[in-house]
């Protein structure tokens, strides 16, 4: 079993670890890392990229194969540790802090080089060792285990085939932010996918019609879902429910994450639960809802993330 020794903290550690991550991405994509690809991906000069490659080779972390480089066994272990640092820290930011989503990647990119394995393991333990990060990517375990699963992008997805978002790339940041604004998150259900002439993609996202710009579609990677798992017509959100109305919970939107999701599940907001809007606060938000016999106040922003079916729609979907 090849172990690796981590670089001492400092600028060189950051450079080498970033280069390792690039080599790892290349390995995952089934190609080798080259001087050009490295310089391009890291936004560094060819000289710096060459230094990085040389140092990594000297440490036995990279093996040259013609023009390209591949990770050695030790290099792969090292890269997985850095990837784990990044993904655990992102998950931590999402679940345990109130850091805005757009800052996750930047902070994790910085912290992945600072964090030591012990600290990351302690964080993971506090969160019951999550398997997936906020982007839907699997997190390497502390033993270095991670399943491979290359996912096709929305841009390359066949029209009409139902899917669920498996992963959203977080760079470039402006586009990632746009995807978030469109309500797209890992786990989000997409139906009636149709590619338009200009490269953008029309789709039904959790019951809403959306047109997704071509650039964003390229960032979104999908997982196919079982046929017959049809989304009922007339899906609404709890925030649409007026005082005195009753509906049935269809589920929590995938954008409802972290402690918020856990708390709602604990309160019994699960598919099939009857929910009634009881009264509103003077400002219109929060509103109080009767959920499984208890009255709970929820803010509008939370109610928007709970998918519901109205009574008429309930009966029609039951017939179907």
């Amino acid at each position: 079993m090849d172990g690796f020794t981590r670089e001492a903290p400092g600028a060189l550690r950051v450079l080498l670890e970033d280069a390792l991550k690039h080599a790892f991405d290349c390995d995952e994509a089934g190609r080798g890392a080259t001087l050009e690809s490295l310089a391009g991906a890291m936004g560094k000069s060819r000289e710096e990229a060459a230094t990085a490659l040389g140092e990594l080779r000297a440490r036995g972390l990279l093996v040259a194969a013609g023009d390209a480089h591949q990770l050695s066994e030790a290099g792969r272990k090292y890269a997985l540790q850095v990837v784990r640092n990044h993904r655990i820290f992102e998950t931590w930011l999402m679940r345990q802090t109130s850091t805005p989503a757009v800052d996750w990647h930047r902070e994790a990119h910085r912290e992945e080089h600072r964090l030591e394995a012990d600290e990351v393991n302690a964080m993971a333990d506090r969160m019951n060792n999550p398997r997936y990060d906020p982007h839907g990517d699997p997190i390497p375990t502390r033993e270095g285990l991670m399943p491979k699963r290359p996912l096709p992008s929305l841009a390359a997805w066949a029209d009409g085939v139902q899917a669920r978002i498996g992963h959203i790339e977080d760079e470039p940041e402006a586009l990632f932010r746009l995807a978030g604004a469109l309500g797209l998150a890992p786990g989000t259900r997409m139906d009636a996918i149709a590619h338009l002439a200009d490269g953008s993609v029309a789709a039904k996202v959790e019951g809403r019609e959306l047109v997704i710009p071509a650039a964003v579609a390229g960032l979104i990677h999908l997982i196919g879902i079982d046929v017959g798992d049809d989304l009922p017509e007339g899906l609404g959100r709890l925030s649409d429910l007026r005082v005195g109305e009753t509906a049935v919970v269809h589920g929590l939107a995938p954008s409802c994450v972290g402690p918020e999701r856990t708390r709602l599940l604990d309160l019994g907001v699960v598919p099939g639960t009857k929910i009634r809007c009881e009264f509103s606060s003077p400002f219109g938000s929060p509103k109080s809802y009767v959920i499984r016999g208890a009255m709970i106040g929820l803010r509008e922003s939370q109610a928007k993330r709970i998918l519901i079916l109205r009574p008429a729609e309930v009966s029609s979907s039951q017939k179907a």
Binding site: Y132, L265, F279, P286, G297
Partner: protein, 469 residues
């Protein structure tokens, strides 16, 4: 034979084969089973509606037109009850502990031939400070906390948080902060402990740091005395009482404004982040058991807070006495400090005596007024006291005469009211903040933030006063 590691390895591998939303599915499964069991055992007569009176009350207490007037009326009633109701028992305790108790103890010490400094330190310093704190603090707390607890047990307070949540969300804080602030009106230390009901660490810290802007019990006497003695006399004949009361209410509302403003600033700067989740359970109204509530809230809240105040009042009493009786050169320590800081203090509308009083009163805000009076007598030599470093009580006319002898005006009174709102929390509260945050840094912030606000505010008011009056 398998080993422990084999078990863990297998479990670790199996994890990846389970659905990504495993936690959701487990929760759903258990809730489903719970519903099935409940259905088999529970029979319902008369539909699943809530009780009519509960529903009507909820509509009333959360209606846009009635919610806020009711909230203010309830709060006003509790404060009025606290202030008015505490007068008589406070006076009784004062005469028992301060007048009679002090006399007995003095005689006892004299009769056993104790040296003057021992009697001074123990009886005139420590005992008297503690006696004062008990007689001033105990009655209002024994009224305020049970009232508060009754509302809590009845189920009204969660509705208050529900009504105010939107405002707190706007400034980046949590709706439950409303409850901790209301609690702070009784005692800031209790308010800080109450922030435990806020889950998000960021929002909880905001609630802790801003709790001091809730005018606590210990500061109401200062407000009421200053408003009555100085502000009320500015009003036309017959309006004095109302103006005085309104000026105290204005200071309390100003505190609410500062709390919101500082929450907003903290949430935009050092405590940046997104508003956390809010799932507030609104329990059914439950008629509280009056006597049990009275008993438990006196035991649970009042006595604990009082005990802590007493623990801090003992050394404070000693400090007051020593500062007035230890001489450096020809002046006592107190006189040195007062004369040294007076020019700066006058600049921001206060006096050197007030600054010293606030240092001495770090253990308990209740002793601010007696300390000011005692030190003023000491420095100006005005008549009416019992001697250097001895706290005493006196009537409003006398108070005004003593203070005016030290050059007090309405401006001084106004600035003292503002400074009483905006200064560092008492040591009990600071200690509680440290215990809750486990951070010296945040404890320091909670002390310095209001102090800076207080100095700036008083400075501005003094400058405006001098420019226009």
């Amino acid at each position: 034979m398998k080993s422990k590691d084999d078990v863990l390895k297998e479990a670790g591998e199996l994890r990846w084969q389970l659905p990504q939303d495993l936690h959701d599915r487990i929760a759903e499964s258990i809730h489903g089973e719970a519903a099935r069991i409940a259905e088999r055992s529970v029979t319902r007569s008369g539909g699943d509606r809530r009780l009519a009176w509960q529903q009507a009350l909820d509509r009333l207490l959360t209606h846009p037109l009635t919610a806020f007037p009711i909230m203010i009326a309830v709060l006003g009633a509790i404060l009025w009850l606290t202030i008015v109701g505490a007068n008589v028992p406070s006076a009784m305790l004062g005469s028992l502990l301060v007048d009679k108790g002090h006399g007995w103890l003095s005689e006892l010490f004299v009769s056993v031939g104790a040296p003057w400094w021992l009697k001074g330190l123990l009886v005139d310093g420590m005992y008297l400070a503690t006696a004062w704190v008990i007689s001033v603090m105990l009655p209002p707390m024994a009224i305020f906390f049970p009232c508060f607890t009754l509302l809590e047990d009845f189920g009204y307070l969660p509705r208050v948080a529900f009504n105010l949540d939107r405002m707190f969300q706007r400034v980046g804080a949590h709706g439950k902060q409303a409850l901790t602030m209301a609690m702070g009106l009784g005692c800031n230390a209790a308010g800080v402990v109450a922030t435990r009901i806020i889950d998000s660490p960021r929002e909880r810290l905001i609630a802790i740091l801003t709790n001091n802007f809730s005018l606590c019990n210990g500061r109401w006497p200062t407000q009421i005395l200053m408003a009555g003695v100085f502000i009320g006399t500015l009003a036309p004949r017959g309006w004095g009482g109302s103006i005085a009361a309104l000026s105290v209410l204005a200071v309390a509302l100003l505190g609410f404004g500062f709390a919101m403003l500082s929450s907003w600033m903290l949430a935009r700067t050092v405590l940046r982040g997104e508003a956390s989740t809010f799932s507030l359970e609104l329990p059914p109204y439950r008629p509280p058991d009056f006597w049990k509530t009275l008993y438990t809230s006196v035991i649970d809240r009042t006595l604990i807070v009082l005990w802590r105040a007493v623990v801090f009042a003992l050394p404070a009493g000693a400090a007051i006495w020593l500062s007035a009786n230890v001489f450096i050169g020809d002046q006592s320590i107190a006189a040195w400090f007062v004369h040294g800081t007076d020019p700066f203090a006058r600049l921001i509308g206060l006096t050197g005596v007030i600054l010293l009083a606030y240092i001495v009163a770090i253990p308990a805000n209740e002793i601010v007024v007696p300390t000011i009076l005692m030190l003023t007598v000491l420095v100006t030599g005005a008549a009416g006291g019992q001697g250097a470093g001895v706290m005493f009580e006196t009537d409003p006319g006398n108070v005004r005469a003593i203070l005016e002898a030290d050059g007090w005006t309405s401006l001084t009174a106004m600035c003292l009211m503002l400074f009483s709102l905006c200064h560092n929390p008492c040591s009990t509260t600071l200690y509680t903040i440290y215990k809750e945050t486990r951070s010296w840094k945040w404890t320091a912030v909670s002390a310095l933030m209001p102090l800076v606000v207080g100095f700036v505010l008083c400075g501005l008011v003094a400058a405006a006063w001098k420019a226009f009056v």
